[in-house]
């Protein structure tokens, strides 16, 4: 991220919050802020960041907003009348940067992650309105045409309007469920970036870093939320292994074979401290348990010295807190490490009758356990079958390599 992008993305939600507070029309204010960000990116890259960047952006965004409303005069006569009644200065007067701006980050996150929206829409809108990313950047990050992404964002805003979504914090009873949606959206953004980090395209926005930045900002506002702390710790612990995760050709390297000296010890220490505090004092939830599992891996010097009984106990807990076939599949691997591959295979067989039936990951876990049990021939055939069904090129390459290893005679 360039210094200009850094400033823009940090200020974007503050400018938008100020504008929405003044004018109320989220959809149009959001467009105006986007235009101001694009104008600033061009101008500031040439001339440097102005002395009062927040004031600059707010003034330009407010002008764009007024221009938009005036331009729509025929259709929006009533709104225009109200607008003309107020002096122009009141509409565009920038807040002085010295004056502490109201922080609307939470309101914006809750709005963009509104339950009326589909997950792809929540991701797109959050990245644009809260993350300060441009539509082309978001489109490139998700590998869809710009037009598709632009349409997705405007449809999301229309849906919010139709649902009567309000720019305010949810009530106490709604707060928990709504926060869970926000955390899930940020988790999906992170995963999208984490998956893409194997790709060769350096021009794509780093979604992993964007997700971390937003969760960090959320954690600052909600320090007593155990699950926000848990998600931040989980992201730090996962990202800490990022450099060791791919080989020179973008080939995926599994946890067992990673060079652990490449892991980011500072990030691991920060996450462990966050997690220790949250587990001791805050209400428990699935992200904290997932982070605790990740911490056990990150603290171990090798696969053999990993505290597998503890990993298994945490998967048992996770399965109770948030039952989900993918969790059960991961638990089968831990079970195999503690009680032997047959125990893991029995769980995989049970899962094969559910939603994961025929899924390439289920096949890969079964192949892994069969290999541990000494059945190389069946393991190899299953890795090959998993590769055929894999959803991405790097996964396919990884699975084919495992199959090839097993087909060749052991050295």
């Amino acid at each position: 991220m360039t210094p200009v992008e850094d400033v823009l993305r940090t200020l974007a939600p503050r400018v938008l919050g100020a504008l929405v507070r003044r004018h109320g029309d989220f959809a149009r204010c959001e467009d105006a802020v986007q235009e101001a960000l694009i104008a600033a990116a061009e101008k500031w890259a040439r001339e440097g960041v102005p002395e009062h960047p927040l004031g600059w952006l707010t003034t330009v965004a407010a002008r764009r907003y007024v221009d938009q409303v005036r331009g729509d005069a025929a259709r929006e006569r009533r709104e225009l009348a109200a607008l003309d009644a107020s002096p122009r200065d009141a509409l565009v007067a920038p807040p002085a940067d010295a004056e502490p701006a109201r922080d609307d980050l939470l309101e914006l996150l809750f709005l963009c992650c509104h339950p009326a929206l589909t997950a792809p829409s929540q991701l797109a809108l959050t990245l644009r309105a809260v993350g300060g990313l441009t539509t082309p950047e978001i489109a490139a990050a998700f590998l869809v045409p710009e037009k598709t992404m632009g349409q997705r964002i405007s449809r999301a805003k229309q849906t919010l309007r139709d649902a009567g979504a309000r720019f305010e914090l949810p009530t106490d009873t709604e707060h928990g469920p709504r926060l869970r949606v926000v955390l899930h959206v940020l988790y999906l953004v992170f995963n999208e970036g984490y998956s893409a980090s194997a790709g060769p395209d350096l021009h794509r926005v780093d979604l992993t870093r964007e997700a971390l930045r937003l969760v960090r900002a959320l954690h600052e506002r909600l320090p007593a939320s155990g699950e926000t702390t848990g998600l931040l710790a989980l992201m730090l612990l996962t990202e800490a292994r990022g450099r060791a995760r791919t080989g020179p050709d973008g080939v995926l390297i599994p946890l067992a074979e990673q060079d652990r000296s490449l892991w980011d010890r500072a990030a691991i220490a920060e996450a462990t401290a966050l997690l220790t505090h949250s587990l001791a004092t805050l209400p428990l939830g699935p992200y904290q348990v997932q982070a605790a599992i990740a911490a056990l891996h990150d603290e171990a010097t090798s696969v053999e010295t990993t505290d597998w009984p503890q990993v298994l106990a945490l998967y048992d807990l996770l399965e109770r807190l948030a039952p989900n076939p993918v969790v059960s599949l991961n638990r089968a691997v831990a079970l195999g490490m503690v009680h032997g591959p047959e125990a893991g295979l029995a769980v995989v067989d049970d899962l094969d009758s559910g939603v994961l039936a025929g899924n390439h990951r289920l096949l890969a876990v079964r192949a892994h356990l069969l290999d541990q049990a000494g059945d190389r021939a069946r393991a190899a055939a299953l890795f090959q079958e998993a590769a055929r069904l894999a959803g991405s090129r790097p996964e396919q390459r990884f699975l084919l390599a495992r199959a090839a290893e097993l087909f060749s005679p052991r050295m």
Binding site: T118, A119, P120, S121, A124, F142, L143, V144, P145, T148, M149, G150, Q151, R152, I153, S154, R155, A156, Y187, N191, E192, Y194, S195, A196, S197, A198, G199, T238, L252, P254, L255, A256, Q290, I293, A294, H297, V303, V326, N330, V333, A334, M337, N359, H360, R361, A364, V365, H368, L369, A386, A390, G391, S392, R393, P394, E395, Q396, F398, L399
Partner: protein, 130 residues
């Protein structure tokens, strides 16, 4: 990420789907012009709906004069006709970017051509990231 023992989440399913629309001469050529016009307008509306939800990636019709390219003794050999000698051929295609496989199938079932006797195949597209 498929490495067993790794706790990375990642996506379980692809999100882009290729829809291959099948038909044959008896299906498409037997439609009276008025019904054909009706089908075309329904397909236009269908595509427009997908554009508005932000799920539409692309759609193309296929011109009915394909060539097949196969390996021959002295290099690739080009012949007329589709690769597979099927009674049904691909007439057009579209690509969507959706939330889930369920959504892809829902879109496929809503394709207007089905009511006119055509059918389609839903193919997940492989991602380039892992």
């Amino acid at each position: 990420m498929a490495a067993p023992g790794d706790d990375d989440a990642g996506r379980m399913w692809p999100v882009k789907y290729l829809m291959l629309i099948y038909g044959n001469e008896t299906v498409w050529n037997s439609l009276p012009p008025a019904e054909m016009a009706e089908l075309i307008s329904q397909v236009d509306a269908f595509n427009q709906g997908l554009r508005e939800t932000g799920e539409f990636i692309t759609a193309e019709g296929l011109v009915e004069r394909p060539h097949a390219v196969r390996r021959g003794p002295d290099g690739p050999v080009v012949t007329d006709g589709p690769y597979l000698e099927a009674k049904e051929f691909v007439g057009s295609m579209f690509v969507v970017d959706v939330e889930s496989e369920d959504r892809a199938l829902e879109i496929a079932k809503a394709y207007p051509g089905i009511a006119f006797g055509g059918g389609l195949e839903v193919w997940p597209l492989m991602g380039h990231d892992g």
